[in-house]
């Protein structure tokens, strides 16, 4: 059985200026460097959304793509769902090349978009029935399936409702039903819980778990650490279109840098504290950026006392102190140098 997903050296460079409204959240800007200066007119700025991404997802996995806004998550999903043309590299879904045979790929996937995009001219159940028809499924087969899906997603009493009468969470569940109506092998979800209230988010988690239980491959993007940790069997941390780490959530947590992340906001420049703090063996990787100071410590209590003492000596006052125990979050910060949200 071929891998559910396989990408090799996947690259996507958007020409400048970017097209608007494609749901591509701020991929980072690459200024023209020396090697490209001959190709790119002066002042033009390309956007490198994917920069040599290698991924492999086995059938039946619940795979998470974790990264901050603009990391390349949505572009990755876009390539795998045939909606974004890769600039270089290859991508295959269920063993089918996305460029050579996009129709074959579309036949095997279901997609839940970042923002619900139901057909607003239709009722909830018509959305499902017409979508099934686009996959060549006759009404006799799609009607019982649609009714069962609406029941399963707790939309049973909203079947005949116009889409605009559904709440945000209900629309998101309708998108999941739509993605499942043609029984795809692989389900893609792009930030499926953004904009949902906590209750709806937990319900969605249950639905996703049961879908994986049925043997489906699920690929989900998220920038919620907890969501990735709870749901995914494996996680890829990506940033700037590159793969930074790939492992199970537990495996990634084990790789998190030792100790608790201690962050302190001071009432003035943090740099004067550095000389003293660097002599303290309990602290590692100390950085000062403006009024922000951060360091990793095995024993957070002891570290805080040292930081406060150093601050007093330097004539600074700590305004705020935050502690983050070793987690995906601290791993992420140590890998990317920035926070998820």
């Amino acid at each position: 059985m071929p891998p559910a997903i396989q990408t090799r050296g996947l690259r996507k460079v958007y020409p400048a200026p970017p097209q608007r409204g494609r749901g591509r959240p701020n991929p980072h800007l690459t200024p023209p460097d020396a090697s490209r200066a001959t190709l790119v007119p002066a002042g033009a700025r390309e956007i490198t959304a994917l920069d040599g991404l290698d991924l492999e997802v086995a059938p039946g996995e619940f795979f998470g793509l974790l990264g901050p806004n603009g990391a390349g998550k949505t572009t990755t999903i876009g390539v795998l769902t045939t909606r974004v043309r890769p600039t270089a590299g290859s991508a295959a879904v269920a063993g089918i090349d996305v460029r050579a045979n996009p129709v074959g790929v579309k036949q095997r996937i279901g997609v839940v978009p970042q923002r619900p995009n139901p057909d607003r001219q239709l009722t909830a159940i018509q959305n499902l029935l017409f979508h099934a028809a686009y996959f060549g499924i006759p009404r006799s087969a799609s009607l019982p399936r649609a009714e069962a899906l609406l029941q399963q997603l707790e939309l049973g009493d909203r079947a005949e409702s116009k889409v605009d009468q559904l709440s945000g969470g209900q629309q998101q569940r309708l998108m999941i039903a739509r993605a499942l109506i043609h029984e795809p092998e692989i389900l893609f979800l792009d930030e499926p819980t953004v904009g949902l209230d906590p209750q709806a988010r937990l319900e969605l988690w249950d639905i996703l778990r049961s879908l994986q239980g049925q043997g489906r491959t699920i690929v989900m993007t998220t920038h919620y650490m907890e969501e990735a940790d709870r749901l995914c069997s494996r996680l890829a941390i990506i940033d700037h279109g590159r793969l930074l780490a790939l492992d199970s959530p537990a495996g990634l947590r084990a790789r998190a840098p030792g100790g608790t992340l201690v962050e302190v906001t001071l009432d003035g420049e943090a740099a004067p504290l550095l000389p003293r703090l660097q002599t303290i063996p309990a602290l590692s990787r100390i950085t000062a950026k403006g009024v922000e100071l951060s360091a990793y410590a095995q024993r957070a209590g002891e570290a805080i006392a040292e930081v406060i003492r150093a601050a007093e000596q330097a004539g600074r006052l700590p305004l705020d102190i935050r502690l983050t125990p070793p987690s995906l979050e601290t791993l992420f910060v140590s890998l990317t140098g920035r926070k998820l949200d």
């Binding site: 409204g21 995009n117 017409f130 028809a133």
Partner: protein, 259 residues
């Protein structure tokens, strides 16, 4: 196993039929009100006042039909395209259908063609009622009438595909002001092309306007006794125009659908 493109195409058509049939009264109101008002003023009031000659209605009626079907066809495709790609993203569920992208675009163009023809079919009896009897009007070439209406509607539907996918949402008002309005006024809808011989420069310039061929084509099939461009020339021009707009429209559609 993928369904055949025809099966998917059929499903897309059923979806549009379902949606359009519910929206039809609003659609007709939106697209035909302007030509009908024009008919009232120029086909009824002005002749009654004696400002225009008696025979004018014979030249006006086919032109009014041309405007109706062109305007309706452009709108039927351009407006949903602008909205779908601009903000609602509703078309994405169809872009996920297991068919090549162009199948979806062609279906939209054909659906727009049908809507344009419906608009013309609606305006014809209304305009005829308002204007009163028109001597030269004949329905004896029904096949030709249907064929010409189809060609005109298809050309403008393909034009709508190009406009709707090449133009940004916030420029839609500009598009109707700068492109569609001049097209209607210089489209030989309200006067026959041959009469423009009075101003030879304008007579040549308007030949770039696709609406000229629709108006003249409608004259050729509805009032063949009155002056008009040869039907064969008009049909040939509309086929070429359709091919160009369709080619460009499919390209811009593809660019919007796959980035």
């Amino acid at each position: 196993m993928s369904p055949s493109p025809w099966t998917v195409f059929g499903a897309l058509v059923r979806r549009d039929l379902h949606v359009v049939s519910r929206e039809l009264p609003f659609f007709l109101l939106r697209t035909t009100l302007q030509p009908i008002m024009f008919t009232i003023v120029f086909g009824f009031l002005l002749p009654k006042m004696g400002f225009v000659q008696r025979g004018y209605t014979g030249a006006l009626l086919p032109g009014i039909l041309g405007v109706s079907l062109a305007f309706a066809s452009v709108q039927a495709v351009a407006l949903p395209m602008v909205a779908d790609f601009g903000w609602t993203k509703e078309i994405e569920d169809r872009l996920l259908a297991p068919v090549p992208i162009w199948v979806i675009a062609i279906e939209k163009v054909l659906s727009g063609t049908a809507q344009g023809m419906i608009a013309a079919l609606f305006v014809l009896p209304v305009a005829r009622l308002i204007m009163g009897p028109i001597e030269a009007l004949t329905a004896s070439h029904l096949g030709l009438i249907v064929g010409m209406t189809f060609l005109g509607a298809f050309a403008f539907s393909a034009f709508g595909m190009l406009l709707g996918t090449a133009i940004k949402g916030e420029q839609i008002g500009l598009m109707f002001g700068l492109i569609v309005a001049p097209m209607i006024f210089f489209g030989c809808a309200y006067y026959p092309w041959r009469a423009l011989a009075a101003t030879p420069v304008i007579q040549i310039l308007v030949l770039v306007n696709p609406l000229v061929y629709v108006s003249e084509g409608m004259r050729g099939v509805l009032t063949p006794a009155l002056p008009h461009m040869p039907v064969g020339v008009v049909a040939g021009a509309l086929v070429v125009i359709s091919a160009v707009f369709l080619f460009l429209g499919l390209r811009t559609f593809d660019k919007r659908a796959v980035s």
